[in-house]
Symmetry: none
DNA sequence: CCGTAATTAACAAAAC
DNA sequence: GTTTTGTTAATTACGG
């Protein structure tokens, strides 16, 4: 059982106190660190959405774009020949991949 | 169908043609920008997981930690509404919501 | 390595040999029995989803519904413990658990 | 907003009452139907586990067995030539698939 | 604004 | 017991 689980400790008058100090600041620190990173994550999501919107504005199909990216992500050979899938889709769209 | 589909015509002045008529580099750029941000997002997810693990190592209960963070994310009114709805359902079923 | 690997010997009286020495039908039988049950399981999942949808159509909040069911599944002591831990964390962070 | 959401309705003195009656029995019915199906689902999971155990007792490797089943499930051609994968694994195990 | 569909996170089960 | 994997639920994003 965890040492911070109040059901297992009874030597302290405050269940959020660990040996040598109050656990509340520690808890607060963990929570805030996580919240900070979560915010950054959301910001990145917003950025990504923005780029999809921009691509859409440039005439690309967002759904297809997502598929291309998903396939590239899953392709086991992506590190060997990372360009090939994009070229494939360029050809499928009638775009010269060499241009 | 995407407007970049060459079957829909290529003489139009719209997004079908980028400067110089080469859409592939534009597509490639969008894909790479998105992939870059997606990588950063994944890295943040990993960081968050790490912090939860660290908190667990410090004796905190991860599941409860997630709950508190979720409560903080919600605005108080919304949380109160959810709570009261839960109590309502519990009463309808004859459950003590505090068990 | 599986004991059905023929490289481990075939003259033994153990599970390697079924009646008549034909393991393939036995394997096939296991696979098919499992697949059959797995299908039934999926069907039940679909049924459950359907009921949630029906409840939603009757004005119930699905998320809350899931919560009540989860509470009923837990034994009361365990639920009470989770609740008190949550309150503890909330107090440490200066949150009113009832918002 | 849902008609059973207490925040949207004010014509009833009891938020769990819908037009023409008390909603509690309806709620209870939904909950019980779901719980019933969930129980059946768990029972099936137990059955499946049992069969894996039985297969193991017959000398089959459970992990490999799971893989065979997973692949069969994902195989898009499974309806056309459902037997082929099993035969493949029989051969890999040195078992005559025609026996 | 709502319902649907895709992604992502939480949970449960299994392997080590 | 812990770590990983597979399944299931919740969130989020897109289209109507």
């Amino acid at each position: 059982m965890s040492s911070r689980d109040p059901s297992s400790g009874s030597e302290s008058p405050d269940a959020l106190s660990s040996v040598g100090g109050n656990a509340a600041p520690v808890l607060r620190s963990f929570v805030e660190r996580i919240e900070r990173l979560a915010e950054e994550k959301q910001a990145l999501s917003a950025d990504i959405r923005e780029i999809f919107a921009e691509a859409k504005g440039n005439g690309f199909d967002v759904k297809t774009l997502r598929k291309v990216i998903a396939i590239r992500r899953l392709d086991p050979a992506e590190h060997a020949e990372q360009e090939s899938l994009l070229e494939l889709y360029c050809r499928a769209l009638g775009i010269d991949p060499l241009s």
